[in-house]
């Protein structure tokens, strides 16, 4: 077994996502909806990332919780899985693959550039609560990505790509759908914060300390809650709502994939 046995699986997974992205984008541009093939490639990609995570888990002895490589791999798996489920169960969101898959491909390009060095699992991560926290976080970001996809369609309709989405419901209906998804996202994020607080209390002796991750996770929650109230308080057009969804996603994305690696101590006492 090579030193980084998980790498070939990662590359194959990225290739599957790249093929799905190209097929979705060029298919939409040509007016051909190759939904079954896109779904199949997405499923293959998710499976390959699951295998990659499993192989690495076996090699380093712990799950994908610590390093940038591990976080990227787990997000490539979970985001692909959540969008895949939405793609399967909600046919109306399928054309949004044009928006969502490039985001996944971006993560794919990122992970290829990251060295999969071994990581150390601190004792504070050895708790079942961590699983609740992480799974809820993945569900939050995944559902948020589905909302981003629908919101992205609303925004793309204001460009030369409008014809790609001619078969989709009107903006008002998409706006409503996107915010339904964001409501589900809010539920998962709220539960993620609760589970995170329980974990922090056990691991570091305080449930909340406004450390970088806690602060930005809460700011994401607050921005989402703010956006929902803004929609109620003001007549915000669908494109405005779509921008707010993108803002929430960008904040969440930076919180998940930026803060832990930019801050010397994302969670105080973690080391």
């Amino acid at each position: 077994m090579s030193m980084f046995a998980e790498l070939p699986w990662i590359w194959l997974g990225v290739a599957a996502y790249a093929a799905a992205t190209l097929l979705a984008v060029f298919g939409a541009a040509r007016g051909q909806r190759r939904e079954r093939t896109v779904a199949a490639l997405l499923l293959v990609g998710v499976t390959l990332f699951a295998v990659a995570i499993g192989v690495r888990w076996e090699r380093v002895g712990h799950g994908p919780f610590i390093s940038m490589f591990e976080i990227l791999a787990s997000n490539l798996f979970s985001l692909g899985l959540v969008f895949g489920v939405a793609y399967w169960r909600l046919p109306v969101v399928r054309p949004s693959a044009v928006v969502v898959l490039p985001v996944l491909l971006l993560l794919g390009a990122w992970i290829v550039a990251v060295k999969p060095v071994d990581s150390f699992l601190p004792p504070s991560f050895e708790t079942p609560v961590l699983w609740f926290h992480l799974v809820l976080g993945k569900l939050f970001l995944g559902t948020c990505l589905v909302g981003v996809g629908v919101g992205g369609v609303i925004l793309l309709r204001r460009t030369r790509c409008a014809a790609w989405f001619a078969g989709m419901p009107d903006d008002g209906t998409l706006d409503m759908l996107a915010w339904r998804v964001m409501l589900v996202s809010l539920i998962f994020e709220s539960l993620m914060l609760v589970a995170g607080a329980v974990w922090a209390q056990d691991a570091w002796g305080r449930y909340w300390a406004w450390d970088p991750l806690e602060t930005w996770a809460f700011m994401t929650w607050l921005t989402l809650a703010f956006s929902m109230h803004a929609r109620i308080g003001y007549r915000i057009p669908p494109w405005g709502g779509a921008l707010m969804i993108w803002l929430v996603f960008v904040l969440a994305f930076l919180t998940f994939l930026g803060v832990p690696f930019l801050s010397a101590a994302p969670h105080k006492g973690v080391v």
Binding site: P123, S124, L183, I187, D202, G205, F218, A225, G233, G269
Partner: protein, 315 residues
């Protein structure tokens, strides 16, 4: 009341609260009022909205969610007023002494119950993985019932010692405590432990200044023998680690192994044995279980609201 319940006021409160969060993030010592004022505004707005807005109070799930938010704000306030955070260092083989507690933060309504906290520190071990990465901490404590009985317990990592509402967490701050006996030329011998600097964080600085009960100043240096290769895994076990104590006095340096003595100006100093001291972080907040359950009930309310909403649309 309706003006107070306005959604626009909610937005203002959220914006102010967001700004206060960022301010506190940048400056952890910022006045708590920066947080308290927007939260009070949001609480008043929330109360008014729950009381008057049919979009909330006629939707069961949404009502539960907003009431839970209101309760969480109030509980967070009560928690701040009653909480305690501090730290203490306890020598292996000695009792917890409230006088040794260093207070970091304490709410105005904190009920001081340290007199009910009775436990003794036993031995502890800390595992290190290659690269000097701290792994598992196992700290033996003995909970005393006050009637001569004791219950052993191992704390560390995720496991806190909870007594009288205080939660004691092991920390990375721990070290060696040489047990010394001072035998003066005239008078009775006295024994006590000296806490050396945190180990291995301050491994390079295992020095401390000390004065005998007669006032003679000496410097103590603990020379610990542990694997020099940081790439090897090892276990910090203060009681079973070879070490010598170097006593530097006006009369010169003396290297002592456990049980050995050195003659000083007004008596004899004996290095009895090497023990460890464990640093604990102390946390007290009686609102913790309430915060947890109310948060869960609130999210359940939101989930119920979403479920009803989607079911209605499907129907």
């Amino acid at each position: 009341m309706r003006k107070l319940a306005s959604t626009r006021l909610t937005l203002l409160g959220m914006a102010l609260f967001g700004a206060a969060v960022l301010l506190t993030y940048r400056d952890q010592e910022a006045s708590p009022w920066w947080m308290a004022v927007p939260l009070a505004l949001l609480a008043a707005n929330l109360f008014a909205a729950v009381a008057t807005d049919p979009r909330i109070n006629r939707r069961g799930g949404l009502l539960v969610f907003h009431l839970a938010l209101l309760a969480l704000i109030l509980l967070a306030g009560v928690g701040r007023l009653t909480h305690f955070s501090g730290r203490v260092e306890i020598t292996e083989g000695s009792l917890f002494q409230p006088v040794g507690v260093e207070t970091l933060r304490k709410g105005a309504w904190h009920p001081d119950r340290f007199d009910q906290v009775k436990f003794a520190q036993g031995p502890f071990t800390v595992q290190y993985q290659p690269g000097l990465k701290r792994a598992h901490t196992r700290s033996q404590v003995f909970i005393l019932d006050g009637a001569g009985g004791q219950t052993p317990m191992v704390v560390g990592d995720q496991m806190a010692l909870v007594l009288a509402g205080y939660r004691f967490y092991t920390t990375s701050n721990k070290g060696f405590a040489p047990l010394l006996t001072w035998m003066p030329d005239a008078g009775v011998p006295v024994s006590g432990a000296i806490h050396m600097p945190s180990y291995p964080f301050l491994e390079w600085n295992q020095f401390t200044d000390w004065a005998t009960p007669d006032g003679e100043k000496v410097q103590l240096h603990l020379d610990v023998e542990r694997p020099s290769d940081n790439e090897a895994a090892w276990t910090l076990d203060p009681k079973n680690i070879p070490a010598t104590l170097v006593v530097k006095s006006a009369g010169g340096n003396a290297v002592l192994h456990p049980g050995e003595t050195v003659r000083l100006a007004h008596g004899v100093l004996r290095f009895d044995e090497l023990r460890g001291w464990m640093g604990y972080q102390i946390f007290f907040d009686p609102t913790l279980p309430w915060l947890f359950w109310i948060a869960l009930v609130g999210v359940a309310g939101l989930a119920h609201h979403a479920w009803r909403k989607f079911a209605r649309e499907r129907g």
